[in-house]
Each structure stands twice: as structure tokens, then as C-alpha cells.
């Protein structure tokens, strides 16, 4: 074209270009390696550095945790041999305590049954393809808590078990689940309250949220345990675990409220207007239009708060409640098992348990995010 100075500006395509496959070197494992690991010289150096780091870390970790680890034994004698790795025998011997705390041995089936009921309720609820969601939710949110309360504390003729005997994973899960399940709706109402046009409701919400966000959880727990009795009349006392539960829940609610408020703020005004224009009431619009979108948007933040709460439950230790981490630490002092590897082993065990729960929540939230993504935002 360039040679032809007289060529006219007009151009009409006579044939449309057909789609063609991408060039060979743009896909396949070799292309992937080249693009992701060895694209530039710095990339290549980082890749080599990372590989060396793995070579340096993994073998000793493997030796400590598995190859040199002591798997069986009746007491510390097994774990103080030279060159011994992790003392899994300690975890094995104390496993029941780590799970139940000092819950009476002959009543532990009640804890097991509660756990089974929980799993049986939550798993189908978490799977979108299972039908009868409404009944399932009623079971998990209403019937299960009642059954769990009866079973764990010992009502209706069951042997009563003081909460001071509860411990280990049982306490961790009770505090975390109650905290999560109660703080979620509380958070929603607080977030709506903070955005309300009604000045009193708005002010109360703000005061509540800012108060609970402004104090450390340790302080909340400590106050509930040490100070509260001073303010209560003589003879009135609350269960220590219950006080911790209330503290943790209110604390988590404040955080949850702010996460959810973030989601509410991201919903365009047009969505509210569309609801209004169709004569939906405020609560209908909120429930059917606004919250489903707002909550989906902030799933990462909500799960972040859940995970934070799950790990914060370990703080109940400072008011003398022995959760999983507490009971593991308590057992370090058992002369029967004292060895240089016992604390490390116990902490690794606790870390694995926490990780399983937190990672599980994280993965499930990612799954839900993908599932609830309907493409474009309005």
C-alpha cells in the first residue's frame, strides 16, 4: 500500500479472518515453566533460591516430625533417647485430655454424640446440592443447640457436669461456634443500626461497636472474670464459661458489624431505589435484595473475622479456662512426660488442629465465593 501513492482511503474487507489456534509455545508445561518460573533472570534466580530453601528446610522437618519421631511409649523414658524427634507418644497418651479436658470419663459419650450431631447437621447444610435446607437449618440453629446444651451440661436426668470440668478442643469449639453463630446476626443488626436514619438506634450502634472494638479481648475476659463479681449482688454469680462466651460474642459482633457495614456500603443506591419503587418494605428489601449481595461481597472479611475469633478463643486461658492450647500447655508440666521435645510436640499438635479448622473455613469460603458469583455487579 505504501508504494501506491494514489491508493484510495476506501477499504472494504472481502473476507472475515477465521479464528486460529494459539501458537504452540504459548501453552503446555514447558511454556508454563518458562512464563512462571524462568521468565527473566531475576525470576530464575528466585526460583533457584526457593528450591534451595525447600531443600534446606524439608529434610530436617521430615526427620523431626516423622523419621526420628517417637510414636509409642508409656512415659518420658521413650522420648529422652538421644537423637529423638517429636514425642508423639505424649500426644497419644494425652489425646483424650486434649479433646475433653477433665470431662468425666464415663460421660464423654455425650460430648462425642454432640460432635456427631453437629457434623451430621452441618455437612449437609454446607453442601448446596442437598435438599431440605430449611429443615436442616432449623435443626442446626435451633434443635442442635438445645440438644447440645442438654447433653453437655447434663439436664433431663443426665449426670450434671460443671463447665469447670470442660476443656480441650471441646471448650475451643464451644466458644468458637457460639461466638461465630451469635455474632453473625448481632453483627448484621449492628451494621444496619449504624446505617439507620433513626438517630437513637444509630447512636447506640456506634457506641456499642466502638466500645467493644476499643478494648482488647484479654481485658474483656479479665473484667468479666475478676471485676464482674464485684458489681453483682452477693449470691448472684454467672458461670465462668458463660461469661467468657458473652464477652467473646459481643467482642466479635462489633468486628462483624464493621465488616458487614463495608458490604452494605458497596451496594449501589439504585438497588435500594428499585426495591422502594416496587413497594417492598425496608425489611423485605434488606433481606431479599441488600443483604444477599452485601454478605456475598464481604465473605472474605466475614471469614477473616471467624478465623480470628477461632484463634482468639485461646485467650480464655487467662481466666482459668483450659481450651485446647491451655490443656496442651498444662500437660508440659506433667513430670511423667517432661522431655526437651514435649513442648514442641504439643505445640505442633495444637497448631495442626487449629490449622485444620481455620484452613477448612478458608477453603469453604472460597468455594462459596465462587458459587455465589453471578457475574457482573449491578
Amino acid at each position: 500500500m505504501a508504494q501506491d501513492r494514489n491508493h484510495s482511503l476506501a477499504y472494504v474487507r472481502t473476507e472475515m479472518v477465521q479464528e486460529q489456534p494459539a501458537p504452540i509455545n504459548a501453552k503446555g508445561p514447558v511454556a508454563w515453566l518458562r512464563q512462571n518460573l524462568f521468565a527473566t533472570i531475576p525470576d530464575t534466580l528466585f526460583t533457584i533460591f526457593a528450591l534451595l530453601l525447600l531443600v534446606y528446610i524439608i529434610p530436617p522437618m521430615f526427620r523431626f516430625l516423622i523419621a526420628d519421631a517417637i510414636w509409642t511409649g508409656d512415659n518420658r523414658e521413650a522420648c529422652i533417647v538421644p537423637g529423638a524427634g517429636a514425642c508423639w507418644a505424649f500426644v497419644d497418651a494425652k489425646f483424650a485430655q486434649f479433646m475433653y479436658g477433665r470431662y468425666p470419663f464415663e460421660e464423654r459419650w455425650r460430648v462425642d454424640l454432640t460432635g456427631i450431631l453437629l457434623v451430621a447437621g452441618v455437612i449437609p447444610l454446607a453442601m448446596p446440592s442437598v435438599p431440605y435446607k430449611k429443615w436442616n437449618a432449623i435443626f442446626v440453629l435451633i434443635i442442635f443447640p438445645i440438644l447440645a446444651f442438654i447433653l453437655l451440661t447434663g439436664k433431663l436426668g443426665l449426670e450434671p457436669v460443671q463447665t469447670s470440668l470442660w476443656g480441650g478442643l471441646l471448650v475451643t469449639l464451644v466458644v468458637a461456634i457460639v461466638g461465630i453463630v451469635v455474632s453473625f446476626p448481632f453483627g448484621i443488626f449492628l451494621a444496619l443500626g449504624r446505617r439507620s436514619n433513626m438517630p437513637i438506634i444509630k447512636m447506640l450502634s456506634i457506641i456499642f461497636i466502638e466500645f467493644w472494638r476499643g478494648v482488647p479481648l484479654i481485658t474483656v475476659l479479665f473484667m468479666s472474670s475478676v471485676m464482674l463479681p464485684f458489681f453483682l449482688p452477693d449470691g448472684v454469680s454467672f458461670d465462668k464459661l458463660l461469661r467468657a462466651l458473652v464477652g467473646v460474642t459481643l467482642f466479635a459482633s462489633a468486628y462483624m458489624a464493621e465488616v458487614i457495614r463495608g458490604g452494605l456500603q458497596a451496594i449501589p443506591k439504585g438497588q435500594y431505589e428499585a426495591g422502594d419503587a416496587m413497594a417492598l418494605t425496608f425489611w423485605q428489601s434488606t433481606r431479599l435484595i441488600i443483604l444477599p449481595q452485601a454478605l456475598t461481597l464481604v465473605i472474605p472479611g466475614i471469614v477473616n473475622t471467624f478465623i480470628g475469633l477461632f484463634k482468639d478463643t485461646t485467650l480464655v486461658l487467662i481466666i482459668g479456662i483450659f481450651d485446647l492450647l491451655g490443656i496442651v500447655q498444662l500437660n508440659f508440666t506433667d513430670a511423667n512426660w517432661a522431655s526437651s521435645k514435649t513442648p514442641a510436640t504439643g505445640l505442633i499438635f495444637a497448631a495442626i488442629i487449629y490449622f485444620i479448622f481455620c484452613f477448612g473455613m478458608s477453603r469453604y469460603s472460597m468455594y462459596m465465593e465462587r458459587r455465589l458469583d453471578t457475574g457482573h455487579k449491578s
Partner: protein, 266 residues
């Protein structure tokens, strides 16, 4: 929609059902003022819309035309004067407001479909929750209107999967599912790609042919000439001129109207 053998006039519109009532008033706005804080957005608005009338409201941006029609279903509150819709006066009485909103459909510039619901669910939400229509019946009605706007096959998709023109047609169908007696259109084609405008306008013409009372804020002058009985021109929060469409476009009186028309009809 008009059938094929319907008699269409030179503008391509079947006027057999487009009757304007002489006695029945659909919307009456009387000496209405509105302020945003200290800013006087609407000044002494007087407008009477008869049942079956199709009104196009035009004007420069910021002239208050959207605000005015949003006052009709109380998305905006007016501070002075009177608005009576379908015989119901708009006051702070929430019951009355809901009553008006049930009878008045609205189509927005940005569609405002609910992105987390399917097209069908978008259409059945209000009938089910506001009119308490049984789900099955609501779905049948929804499918009927989706067919009328010519997208029944999209019923189970989400709004994000549709083109702008399709979304706006869904928005119209969604409003119709409530069986409104009056429809408000707030710049329904301004956010659309050029190729999608016609499909939405065609839908609106179809609605007009059925005798729907319509108030449209739009700059689609072709549409105004085709179906409107009246064009209202607003500037600085007031009604500056109104006339029947051909007269309005061919022979504008007010200086502001002339300037506006010369700007848009380059």
C-alpha cells in the same frame, strides 16, 4: 404488541388502543416545590396527566426532570405543593406511599436489576412479596411479560450475562409484572450502546400502543414524535415550555428551548 395486520399510521404506530381519558386523572402535580438543603431544585411544578397520556420530559442535565418524576413515586420527597397519583395524595403516610408505588412502575437509567437473582426471580420478587401472588402464578405472569419484551429464553440467566438492551427490557418486564397503571421511565436509553437503543424504544412504543399512561424522561426525539401526546421542556427546576411533539420540535417558542433543540439536533 401490535399484531401484523394492525393498522399503523405514517409513524409506524398502531393507535387503535391509544386513548386518552377526558375525565380520569392519573397524576396531578400542583404547585410543587422541592429543595435539597438550601438548593431549590424544583420550582412551582404544575402538571396534570390524564389516564392514557404519554408524556416526554426533556431538558438539560440538572434541570430537575429526573427529580420530578422521582417525586411521583416518592423516591424523592417534595416539600411544598401537592402530588396526587391515581387519586392518592402523597404525604408522609407510608401506607399511602406503598399504595402509590404498587400502582406505579419505574424503569431506571442503570436498569437496577438485582444481580444475585435470575431474570425470572427479578420479575417475580415484588409480585410474590408485595402482592402476595402464589409463586407459580407469579412465574407465569413473568414469563408472559418476558415473552412480550422478547427474551423468554433468558429467564434462568443472571442479569450480568445479558446485554444492556436485554437488561433494560427485563427491567421493563419486571415493572409490568406488578400490573402498574402508570409507568415512569428515567432516561431508559441513556446508558445503552447505540445498537441497543432501538430494541428498548420498540418495547416502549409497544407499551404505549396498549394505552399505558407513561411519563418518560428521555432525549429520544424520534420516540417523542412517535408516541408522545405532549413534550415538556424543563430548565432550572421549572417547566419552561410544553406542547404537542411536532409543534414542540418544529416551532419552539422559548429561547431556552430553541437553544436546547439546536444543541441536540445538530
Amino acid at each position: 404488541m401490535a399484531t401484523d395486520n394492525a393498522v399503523k399510521d405514517e409513524k409506524g404506530v398502531d393507535r387503535s388502543k391509544m386513548q386518552v381519558s377526558d375525565t380520569e386523572v392519573a397524576v396531578e402535580i400542583d404547585g410543587m416545590h422541592k429543595w435539597y438543603g438550601d438548593f431549590h431544585v424544583l420550582k412551582d411544578i404544575n402538571l396534570k396527566v390524564m389516564r392514557g397520556e404519554r408524556i416526554v420530559i426533556a431538558g438539560p442535565s440538572g434541570s430537575g426532570k429526573s427529580t420530578m418524576i422521582r417525586c411521583i413515586n416518592r423516591l424523592e420527597e417534595h416539600q411544598k405543593g401537592k402530588i396526587v397519583v391515581d387519586g392518592i395524595e402523597l404525604t408522609n403516610d407510608l401506607k399511602k406511599i406503598d399504595e402509590v408505588r404498587r400502582e406505579v412502575g419505574m424503569v431506571f437509567q442503570h436498569f437496577n436489576l438485582f444481580p444475585h437473582l435470575t431474570i425470572l426471580e427479578n420479575c417475580t420478587l415484588a409480585p410474590i412479596w408485595v402482592r402476595k401472588t402464589p409463586k407459580k402464578e407469579a412465574e407465569e405472569t413473568a414469563m408472559h411479560f418476558l415473552e412480550r419484551v422478547k427474551i423468554p429464553e433468558q429467564a434462568h440467566k443472571y442479569p450480568g450475562q445479558l446485554s444492556g438492551g436485554q437488561q433494560q427490557r427485563v427491567a421493563i418486564a419486571r415493572s409490568l409484572c406488578m400490573n402498574p397503571r402508570i409507568m415512569l421511565f428515567d432516561e431508559p436509553t441513556s446508558a445503552l450502546d447505540p445498537e441497543m437503543i432501538k430494541e428498548v424504544l420498540d418495547t416502549m412504543v409497544g407499551l404505549a400502543e396498549e394505552g399505558m399512561t407513561m411519563l418518560c424522561v428521555t432525549h429520544e426525539m424520534g420516540f417523542a414524535r412517535q408516541v408522545a401526546n405532549r413534550v415538556i421542556f424543563m430548565d432550572q427546576g421549572q417547566i419552561v415550555e410544553q406542547n404537542e411533539p411536532d409543534e414542540f420540535f418544529d416551532n419552539p417558542q422559548h429561547e431556552r428551548t430553541k437553544l436546547f433543540l439546536s444543541q441536540i439536533l445538530h
